[in-house]
Symmetry: C2
Subunit: 308 residues, 2 copies
């Protein structure tokens, strides 16, 4: 599964529930990583890890029931506090930063964190190299978290680029997982800032296109809106249709199959015309059982296509 | 004031209460600093800072009312947890480590931390260079915190050395403070592992001896015991007398004046015979008023000696 943060994490959790231990690999976006307090913070990797470990906070990020003592002190000592890092979450960043400084790759670190948290799913960064989303707005170019958190997505997005993406090499574990996969799933994550900076890494799109497995994308837009985050407004301001069809167009030539929500059933023919098989499914994941059920149905549909 | 951790911090707090804002400089031991989770931890500097800021924990270290969420998570992620770092305390180490990594000296960092915590006293490390206490025991050479915390001071101390002390340069702020001082105080800290690694830094002993100001030491041994820490057992196993007299002998040739507790009044003549003026005072600092009163009486005695 190629995934960003919360939406991707939920569907990954559903798949983890349905497939055997160790059979799922989540390739997470790292283009919204940031350096805070001199520590390396990987919001998407952590949302996925915490969700798969069953300890994610209610909003889909951070650790459930976390305390905020360190952040208060960091603020008192002059560090920025707009990015809300709880105490347990800070521990993850401290641990990650120590391992990175000692020479581990982000892939190594993610493997170590998953192991410590009892997560049997492989969680790997799309790349071990620095790739950073830069958002063009009327207020100038902003790094992703400044746009997303500090300025609360209030700026109209005029363009998006991924600094460093030309130089970045894909994580070998990600490439291997794609090559060996029985099914490739593009999670219902933001296509512009979560999925594009994964597929845009050298060899990644070609890996997906050349893989033996079918590739299925799940629409993050339901009824013209993103359930969470700015995907809908981003699509609009960048000139895309704000619908499952608009998302499907972005994935044309990459995915074999497209899953859209029952609310959007009328878009199925137009999506099919892009050359994709279409599955109309209940995709809103309100409960843990919803996640597992969506995973089961995605697998069934793909298996049927492959005649299994 | 030359100081180690808790005892030194208490007397420094008393002096801070008595003298004008900015008139006190505390030169803190850094030989028990350690690297934990990839962060630079300075236990003595922090005990002094937290005490002077009025936020120290009840045991004389860490932050009062701190939480332990990060440490629990760090343990889960495979980091050692024998050195108890609370969440607010962790924030200090994160901030310090970031500034050090960006090129600040430990002196710069200590100044920044003091400023953020509203501490007007100058708190400076004895040196910006790495000096580390190594304790020889029957279990081999141990770094100080392994001996002190991890092994709970259970090993007999056969010898003490300070790795790096020959190469270390004194913090310029420390040397300047000694040269400009009206009074130099050696705090009631462990003479072997807190004061010796300050005085042993090149130029520091000579600075104290050559200073215009009188130098007064306060005995950390009262009635044959250290109020806190292993100073008494260390003195014994290294062949020193475990008494204020034993401590005074270590400071002969450096201090002009020696403060011992009323309980030890009978040692005054023997200490005077070492060539020091002797003040017999109540030195147990149970309350904040005790700290201030001891500071006042040390200043009065020194002023009387100088005819002020």
């Amino acid at each position: 599964m190629l995934a960003g943060g919360t939406g991707g994490a939920k569907l990954a959790h559903g798949f983890q529930h349905v497939v055997g231990a160790g059979e799922l690999t989540v390739i997470a976006n790292v283009a919204d990583d940031l350096e805070l307090f001199g520590l390396h913070v990987s919001p998407d990797l952590d949302s996925v890890l915490y969700t798969l470990a069953g300890i994610v906070g209610e909003s889909g990020w951070g650790v459930r029931g976390d305390t905020w003592t360190a952040l208060e002190m960091l603020g008192r000592l002059g560090e920025p506090t707009w990015f809300r890092i709880g105490d347990a979450d800070l521990a993850t960043h401290v641990r990650r930063s120590r391992l990175l400084r000692e020479g581990s790759t982000l892939t190594d670190v993610s493997r170590a964190l998953a192991g410590s948290l009892g997560v049997t799913t492989q969680v790997v960064p799309a790349t071990d190299d620095p790739v950073r989303t830069v958002v063009s707005t009327d207020a100038g170019e902003l790094d992703f978290q400044t746009y997303f958190v500090a300025r609360a997505q209030r700026d109209e997005v005029r363009g998006v680029r991924f600094a460093g993406i030309e130089q970045a090499r894909p994580s070998p574990a990600a490439i291997a997982a794609i090559a060996e996969a029985d099914l490739i799933v593009i999670a219902p994550s933001n296509p512009i800032v979560s999925v594009a900076p994964i597929l845009g890494i050298r060899g990644m799109r070609e890996g997906v296109q050349g893989a033996a497995a079918a590739c299925v994308a799940v629409s993050p837009i339901i009824g013209g809106h993103a359930l969470k985050g700015p995907a809908d407004r981003m699509l609009a301001s960048l000139g895309h249709e704000v619908s499952a069809l608009g998302v499907a167009r972005l994935y044309a030539g990459i995915v074999d199959r497209f899953v859209l929500d029952e609310q959007d059933a009328e878009l199925a023919p137009a999506i099919a015309a892009l050359g994709m098989a279409v599955d109309v499914l209940p995709t809103v994941m309100s409960t843990e059982e919803d996640r597992a059920e969506l995973a089961r149905r995605i697998i069934s549909a793909a298996d049927a296509m492959l005649g299994r």
